[in-house]
């Protein structure tokens, strides 16, 4: 199936077949949701927990889903809520903890000459996970999830111009952080 479409399955009597529908929704959207959350939280175990939480909320409210909206937009709004909630809960006791990406283990063994690139990529991910949550969200949605300005605005419930401004601020901050931490690693 193509991603980004709205897909749901009806039983013969017209009711929604939740079991099958969630299967389709999960298959189509888990990568997007996980990708968003892994960059937002900056660690794999949180991303896994929150991904599951997002889809559980989808099950709970799928029968009330307004089919005039795009499914992906709706799911990502849930993901954003879950992520922000998580951020608020965690803020109290991990404010000074910089252990972002500690749990991340490279899945593919990289040859020695790639170590430098790997290191750079790690720094980029760390810097992203340290941005303010609203900048982080805009940046991930636009740059990684490749959403349009319009869709991003509807997920964040803000104007399209705010999306543009916040994206550029996020990018500028990211570049600033990178230049600081990458002296000697690469010429950026």
């Amino acid at each position: 199936m193509e991603t980004g479409s709205i897909s749901y399955t009806l039983l013969k009597d017209g009711r929604l077949d939740v079991e099958l529908t969630i299967d389709y929704i999960y298959e189509e959207h888990y990568k997007t949701v996980y990708g968003f959350l892994v960059f937002f939280t900056g660690n794999i175990s949180d991303a896994e927990d929150l991904t599951q939480e997002v889809f559980i909320q989808v099950i709970k409210s799928i029968t009330n889903f307004n089919r005039a909206f795009q499914l992906r937009t709706w799911i990502l709004s849930i993901a954003k809520h879950v992520a922000i909630d998580h951020y608020r809960r965690r803020k109290f006791y991990t404010l000074l903890n910089d252990n972002f990406f500690v749990n991340m283990v490279a899945k593919i063994g990289l040859p020695q000459e790639n170590l430098e690139i790997k290191e750079t990529n790690k720094i980029i991910q760390e810097s992203l996970a340290k941005l303010k949550p609203n900048y982080r969200t805009v940046f991930i949605l636009r740059a990684i999830n490749e959403l349009s300005i319009k869709e991003t605005a509807s997920i964040l419930k803000c104007s399209e111009s705010k999306v543009k401004v916040d994206y550029h601020r996020a990018l500028a901050m990211l570049q600033k952080k990178l230049t600081k931490s990458m002296k000697g690693v690469m010429d950026i």
Binding site: M1, E2, L11, K31, A106, I124, L171, L174, Q175
Partner: protein, 308 residues
């Protein structure tokens, strides 16, 4: 603050291995969600109504039985159907294949393949360019069956991914050209099928028929095009026939609803009234299971193609 910088950052993030969840997590979560969905549908408070109406129906049947047959005759309710018997009446098989093609088969996602054929373990990796192991072979088998049943069939075996600068998102644009050309050069075509396989786990894409595992057949209809009603009617005809013969073989018609506008995906169904997207089985089915489904599907398609 150059364009290059922005591109470098974005590419680095997009290519990060961290973006891909582990297979273990993906399947664990899938199972967990299934469990929750199942529990939720069980909780639905529709039971009382359901029990009353069923009870009423049962008692009416019982009364009818007692009064009409005095309980002496046995009711032969079980109409047992064996694979193929019902529709392969010898008089329906026309051996001379007519020259005008009636059916066109193509594959937008032609590299969709099957775990058992590739000897791999992850359904996510079930992609192959080998036309004897990917969905192309299912389309080819369908065409052979249809020809055997007297329906001239054309099959397209394009490998879109081998084209330079291929982008998966453009698959439907590429296959659209295939369909447009086929329709233009073959005005006799009555049916057009885009054959895919599903991405669901095995238990959702397999049914037992007469002791054999058979791949399911799901029809997909997009509501975002002007031929939606005709497509839906066509899908319903095929779906109802499959379901009446083998309940569970065609679990449902899958309706894809999309917002109107430029991004809306019609799966090329706007090109022709009898144009359908069919998903036969999933990544964990074997080709033999796929072929068993095609054996049944071919008979129904052949019937319709010849009678309309």
């Amino acid at each position: 603050m150059t364009q290059k910088n922005e591109e470098y950052i974005i590419n680095s993030l997009r290519n990060s291995p961290d973006l891909i969840p582990s297979n273990e997590f993906v399947s664990k979560t899938r199972n967990e969600l299934q469990l929750r969905a199942r529990n939720m549908s069980k909780k639905k408070p529709i039971y009382s109504k359901y029990i009353i109406s069923t009870g009423l129906a049962v008692s009416m049947i019982l009364i009818a039985w007692i009064t009409l047959f005095s309980g002496s005759n046995q009711i032969n309710t079980a109409a047992i159907i064996n694979a193929g018997q019902i529709i392969t009446n010898p008089q329906n098989i026309i051996t001379d294949v007519k020259n005008e093609p009636l059916v066109f088969i193509y594959h937008t996602h032609n590299r969709e393949s099957f775990v058992p054929e590739l000897k791999i373990s992850s359904p996510d990796e079930a992609q192959s360019s080998d036309i004897n192991k990917n969905i192309t072979s299912v389309g080819r088998y369908l065409s052979e069956k249809l020809e055997e049943l007297g329906v001239k069939t054309l099959v397209d075996q394009s490998d879109y991914e081998s084209k330079p600068n291929f982008d998966f998102k453009d698959s439907y644009k590429l296959s659209r050209t295939t369909v447009v050309n086929a329709l233009q050069s073959n005005p006799t075509l009555k049916m057009v099928f885009d054959v895919h396989r599903d991405s669901l786990p095995r238990d959702k894409t397999t049914v037992k028929i007469n002791g054999n595992d058979v791949a399911t057949v799901r029809f997909v209809v997009a509501n975002s095009n002007e031929k939606y009603e005709e497509n839906m009617k066509f899908a319903s005809t095929l779906h109802d026939q499959l379901e009446s013969l083998y309940p569970g073989l065609s679990p449902q018609i899958f309706l894809v609803k999309q917002p109107e506008g430029e991004s809306s995906q019609s799966y090329n169904q706007d090109l022709f009234i009898n144009s359908l997207f069919i998903e036969i089985g999933g990544p964990e089915n074997s080709l033999i299971e796929e072929y068993r489904a095609v054996d049944i599907l071919a008979q129904i398609i052949a019937e319709l193609a010849k009678n309309n």
